[in-house]
């Protein structure tokens, strides 16, 4: 590869950006730490939340008139699915626990232990003590 091929202005610019990013970021962060910025952000958040609520209420009414689900309905559905997933996860844990009890009770142990991973011994010592 000749020396000409190594020169790439965009790459040089990107390298410069990466190197100077911390300083630029710090300058922006300092600006965000200014009280006026905090006030502006607080005001913006308040306005955004109020308008979000007003828009959501109006939109859900509109969607109801069209016989369509609103975001809230979709979230409700998501919550229901989440509850079902939680129940399944809890059942999975419960089943595994029952299976372990079953194995520990040595009930038909030969058949079951073939499918059960044996636990390693808890006897390891740190290298300096071993």
């Amino acid at each position: 590869m000749s020396s000409n091929e190594k020169i790439e202005p965009m790459q040089m610019w990107r390298e410069w950006f990466v190197k100077s990013e911390k300083a630029w970021s710090q300058a922006l962060t300092d600006m965000m730490g200014d009280e006026r910025f905090s006030q502006g952000m607080g005001k913006y958040m308040q306005e955004a939340l109020h308008s979000h609520r007003m828009f959501s209420e109006a939109m859900s009414q509109y969607l109801a008139n069209l016989n369509l689900p609103s975001r809230s309905d979709v979230l409700d559905l998501g919550d229901r699915l989440g509850q079902i997933e939680d129940t399944l996860a809890a059942l999975q844990v419960e089943l595994r626990d029952q299976r372990k009890l079953f194995v520990n009770a040595k009930f038909d142990a030969d058949a079951v232990s073939a499918n059960t991973d044996p636990r390693p011994a808890r006897t390891k010592q740190p290298p300096s003590k071993a």
Partner: protein, 370 residues
Amino acid sequence: MAAKMAKKTSSETDEILAKSVDSRIKKIVERALARNILGLTLQEANLDIEVGPTPKELVYTRDSLRLYHYRPMVDEIYRIPLMIVMSPVARGYILDLAKGQSLIEYLLLQGYDVYLMDWVPPRREHSHLGMRDFALDLIDESIASVQGNSGETDVTVIGYCMGGLLAAMNAAVHHDGPIKNLVCFATPVNSNGMALYKKWADSESFDIDLIVDELGIIPGDMIGASIQALRPLQKQANQMQLLNNAQNDTFVKASMRFDRWAAEQLPIPGELARGMFRDFLRDNKLVKNEYMLGDQRVVLGNIQIPFLHVAAEYDHIVPTAASSDLVKMVGSEDKQEIVVRGGHVSLVAGGNAVYRLWPQLDQWLGLRSV
């Protein structure tokens, strides 16, 4: 005649220059195209890039908590199991990003029995869960599950970032409890060290109650934006670094895993956010020993168990100014702080952590896990 010669030479020079510029532009365009085509290929191939490859099983679940047990990788393990408390705002797979780039895999290979308190996005019905639920109830229940699953009464707890804060609070309240050793990674205790967040929290115009009451669950995007505000151009710089290393498959894959993790900030329950904002950030109650979890006061000096704090020198999310008081406040005689070069995430997932930090962690834990 001389003028004619000069004109001819000048036009030849122009021609050579034009060819040189043409060829330069052509090369730049070809290289840019090759890079973009490669980038697109990798992007497409890795959209579902695998993370969290270490085999594990779910042992306990409640609300947004998922407690996993990782399958041991060696025949002989240390007596005391390890339970890692992940930060509720981040996905736990950062600790198990890929084979060979996984703190959990490393610990398993060194002979530890590893459990992870991981989190899934909370639902609206979880919006009432606050600091007490996370720091006491959920950690207590997880420890009980680890005890039941492992058959051991002692447990070593490792907390990362906000997970460290929760673990330290638990250990301070239950100072005669089952936690045998405590390790905290980049754990904030003094909000004066978190300059930007502290300024926002102190500002009267920032109404956390309105946000919590209106939203119930604080969206992950909002958490992500507040973290990005600490270093606004880092994402762009990472993208440029990615372009500069587009020919390096390993770099690109690692970068895409990090990007995926960073983009998947978890939402948190409103009450938890309110507690963090008011009591921790604004009033800085932890360093004043005024933090209350229900009717129980959190006094970090009550922690008497062996304690290790690991901080990163260039951590911009939890600067050392916010975390260095932890080791000073903890009451243990056996306590230590390790400060390593690197950033917030490189502590647990950086390429160099496996050579620099993790062996020190193993050495510290090994002596205290028998």
